[in-house]
């Protein structure tokens, strides 16, 4: 059985005003939103731009907005967001510059991950440097950018480091035995547009498809920063 669906797709090409295009498609209700987008591309509009790779929530490259919620469209079935004859509105993630249609520029996002010492592909990490149990959750981060899109603070403060980079910083801070590296990370995050910019909305944690809990990590870093400051008052080294 197939469903009749309406896809409203946010379109944007550099130099052109943004618009919304409407597509009617037939789709099995157990197929994913990404299947729908691919069907539109294949059968109706070859100029539609979107990003995808693994189709199983492993690469994080396909993250978009669907009905105003951040999703990995490769694992969300259409029956989870609409009904037969219903509408699915898709658009690019919030809080990122749009390159074209559903594709956003992740450059700054990856740059900040690198700043905290968490490059996407580390030459010696993580296989020969297995994290401690407490940090396993971070290893699940697929760098999809959903946490940044969901964060209401990033929406109005583009200089905010953001949940993903701060969660990575937490992991790197606690996983490092190098006091200089720890201090470098703390200097990076213990400032106005670092850990103290978070307003405890916990939307990043709620939206994260990999259960990384970025907000919890930010709170952990705050506690660590506070402990370090108190220790400094008594002339002690940071913990």
């Amino acid at each position: 059985m197939t469903w009749q669906l309406t896809f409203k797709v946010a379109r944007y090409k550099p130099g052109e005003p943004p618009r919304t295009d409407t597509f009617q498609i037939e789709l099995d209700p157990e197929r994913t939103i990404l299947d729908g987008v691919e069907k539109i591309w294949a059968e109706q509009d070859r100029t539609l731009t979107f990003r995808h790779a693994c189709h199983h929530a492993s690469c994080g490259s396909c993250a978009i907005m669907a009905n105003d919620v951040e999703v990995l469209p490769c694992i969300v079935e259409v029956n989870q967001v609409t009904r037969n004859g219903g509408t699915i509105e898709v658009g690019p993630l919030h809080n990122f510059p749009v390159v074209s249609d559903l594709v956003v520029d992740m450059g700054t996002f990856f740059e900040r991950m690198q700043q905290v010492g968490m490059p996407i592909i580390g030459p010696t990490d993580p296989l020969d440097n297995q994290p401690k149990d407490d940090f396993h959750a971070y290893e699940n981060c697929i760098e999809c950018g959903i946490c940044l899109s969901a964060c209401p603070v990033v929406a109005t403060d583009p200089t905010y480091l953001g949940p993903a980079a701060l969660a990575a910083a937490y992991r790197q801070y606690h996983n490092s035995d190098d006091s200089e590296e720890k201090q470098r990370i703390m200097n990076l995050v213990d400032r106005e547009n670092g850990i103290w910019r978070c307003h405890v909305a916990y939307e990043c944690t709620a939206a994260c498809p990999s259960n990384v809990d970025p907000a919890g990590k930010i709170m952990g870093l705050r506690r660590q920063a506070t402990v370090n400051r108190v220790r400094k008052l008594f002339g002690l080294k940071p913990a």
Binding site: N95, V98, G122, L148, N187, L188, V200, A201, R222
Partner: protein, 142 residues
């Protein structure tokens, strides 16, 4: 491990190009389809803005004292009317929600009860509601 040489925090997320910057602030007030945390975030902003507006309103009203006794007495008569008493209850609601939610933000933001932040929000709001009912009743009975 490789570390970027990019200046710390030097590059901002430029925002979503088709969306004007002034529209991005609307995200603060769109908790629909979001988690309880965003509702608390939105509540804190709405009540915060409301309390700031009230502060200036309050200062404006107090300035009536400079005008004279008669104008102040006239204001007091208005202040005891039911519509203004309802506004007093709204003010009390704003104070309680902002205060208790702020306490939750301070606690969780300092690393306390991080894993129980959701329950903490619900508990704080229940406490605010109980005090609002007591306070609201007192406003109308006195």
């Amino acid at each position: 491990m490789a570390v970027s040489n990019a200046p710390e925090g030097s590059r901002a997320y430029p925002g979503q190009q088709p969306r004007e910057p002034q529209k991005r602030v609307l995200r603060w007030f769109q908790p629909f389809n979001r988690s309880l945390g965003t509702w608390s975030f939105t509540l804190n902003r709405v009540t915060g803005i409301g309390l700031v507006v009230y502060l200036y309103l309050h200062l404006g009203v107090l300035s009536l004292l400079l005008v004279g006794e008669e104008s102040w007495d006239t204001f007091l008569a208005v202040a005891k009317s039911p519509p203004v008493l309802v506004m007093d209850v709204v003010l009390l609601a704003g104070l309680l929600i902002h205060g208790f939610n702020g306490l939750r933000v301070a606690l969780v933001g300092s690393g306390f009860m991080v894993k129980q932040q959701r329950q903490l929000f619900i508990g704080m709001m229940v406490l605010a509601l109980i005090l609002l009912v007591i306070g609201g009743t007192a406003v109308f009975l006195k």
